[in-house]
């Protein structure tokens, strides 16, 4: 069983097809770097996987379940461009709220643990609005990882982060990988992505133009993928 199976996914915005039959399989425990030029459809695909958007045609199965079922939704963690926490709640209140939405048994304890993991226990009662950008991002990561999701969907997670914030996120991603979670993340920073990824997929105008394991040549030459599998200008 694959962790993610997307088959022939189409998504129209009006009559404009942002996804034109994208198909993707991701193995359990893999870490997939989703590459593609601006407007290729990365965000659109990830939002469909996270059930934030319905595909026009095609089918998506997550962890063997239909993607819109509550069970599937309960087992994924999503981190988009926005951090997805409330500015007027404290760090711990935010996480407790999301714990309740996820129907966890002990939201408070889970929240405190999650804050511990990202190094925010010291400021757990501070309002999110007062956090600096790095701390906010940590809180967002804690939110997305709250329920130890089996599938993590991350849209450009490293953008605009400094070295320390990147290190925290990478550590958490490695932990998740080592407990067997599957990761999908989109990015434009090919070099950084390649250091974590086990698999690579390239979206080109709404289709998957390349998908396969990461190789040495990609690591050494970031432009290789676009040159060999991307569309010409």
């Amino acid at each position: 069983m694959h962790a993610v199976e997307a088959e022939n996914v189409w998504k129209y915005f009006g009559d404009y097809p942002a996804l034109r039959g994208a198909s993707l399989q991701v193995n359990k425990g893999a870490c997939l770097a989703l590459l593609g030029r601006n407007g290729a459809g990365k965000t659109t695909l990830l939002r469909i996987l996270a059930n934030l958007s319905r595909p026009g045609k095609g089918e998506v199965r997550l962890l063997g379940l239909a993607s819109h079922t509550p069970e599937a939704r309960r087992r994924i963690g999503y981190l988009g461009h926005g951090i997805g926490v409330y500015d007027d709640l404290s760090a711990v209140e935010n996480l407790i709220l999301f714990g309740q939405l996820l129907n966890l048994d002990n939201p408070r304890e889970t929240a405190l643990n999650a804050l511990e993991r990202v190094g925010l226990s010291r400021v757990k009662d501070g309002l999110a609005r007062e956090f600096s950008r790095g701390m906010r991002q940590r809180l967002a990561v804690a939110r997305a990882f709250l329920h130890d999701p089996e599938l993590l969907i991350l849209d450009e997670p490293f953008t605009s982060l400094d070295d320390r914030a990147v290190a925290v996120l990478q550590k958490l991603l490695q932990d998740a990988q080592s407990r067997g979670a599957t990761i999908i993340m989109s990015t434009h920073q090919i070099r950084e992505a390649m250091e974590l990824a086990t698999d690579v997929a390239l979206l080109e105008r709404g289709k998957v133009a390349f998908a396969g394991p990461q190789t040495v040549v990609m690591l050494a030459d970031p432009g290789w993928l676009y040159r060999n599998h991307g569309a010409p200008e």
Binding site: I76, V85, D88
Partner: protein, 228 residues
């Protein structure tokens, strides 16, 4: 189902908590309703008889203006930081999100209404406390209707430009039957006109039917508009 209600409760509590903590839209909406009460009394220079005759209309105009401000923020509150995405992608069903937000809006509205009621009485010299039970019932019914329809439209208009303008344009015409009932009963309660008091029953029925229709419609349909 159980999980849905738990989620709705969590969301309602969150909305109320943030609102009462920052007190922003609450104080703003409250002072707005006071400002229009004052503005009205400036604009309409009327005798006592005539004032009583329009008292119900005045009250519900103020309430529906204040209400539009509050429900406007209902889903808009989720926009910063893309919190709406997190709500929608969570296992909580659409109806639970909607229910939670409606309940929160209902209570916020109720606070604004109950606080501004005495001021209304004061400014316009109207004795509003004569049958508190019935008045409360009317306020409850109409407020629930405003909250349900308002929050539903707040979900519809959350992503559009000109939200502040579009929401009232859609909301007020939709509320007319409800306001009709509310205005009629409230005026009857203030003027204590025996004729009017008699026909109150059917007005209250109208409001109940309105609430039933729109509540069930919204709960059922909201799933389709939250995930496009």
């Amino acid at each position: 189902m159980r999980a849905g209600f738990a989620a709705a409760f969590a969301i309602a509590r969150k909305d109320l908590q943030t609102e009462l903590r920052t007190r922003e839209s609450l104080t703003a909406s409250l002072s707005f309703s006071l400002v229009i009460l004052v503005l009205f009394s400036f604009a309409f220079d009327l005798g006592r008889e005539e004032l009583y005759a329009i008292s119900g209309g005045l009250l519900w105009l103020v309430y529906s203006f204040a209400g539009a401000l509050i429900v406007n923020r209902s889903f808009a509150r989720e926009l910063p930081n893309d919190c709406l995405d997190v709500l929608v992608s969570s296992p909580a069903p659409g109806w639970a999100i909607f229910l939670g937000k409606t309940v929160a809006a209902f209570f916020l509205l109720l606070i604004v209404e109950l606080v501004s009621l005495p001021f209304f009485g004061l400014f316009y010299n109207i004795s509003w406390w004569q049958s508190p039970g019935t008045l409360l019932l009317v306020i409850f019914l109409a407020t629930w209707g405003i909250a349900v329809v308002g929050v539903a439209f707040s979900a519809v208009t959350v992503n559009i430009r000109l939200r502040e303008l579009m929401l009232p344009v859609l909301l007020y015409p939709m509320l007319i039957p409800l306001l009709l009932g509310a205005i009629g009963t409230t005026t009857a309660l203030f003027t204590r006109d025996p004729e009017a008091l008699k026909s109150m029953g059917s007005s209250i029925q109208l409001m109940i039917v309105f609430n039933l229709i729109y509540t069930s419609l919204s709960l059922y349909i909201v799933e389709f508009i939250l995930i496009v």
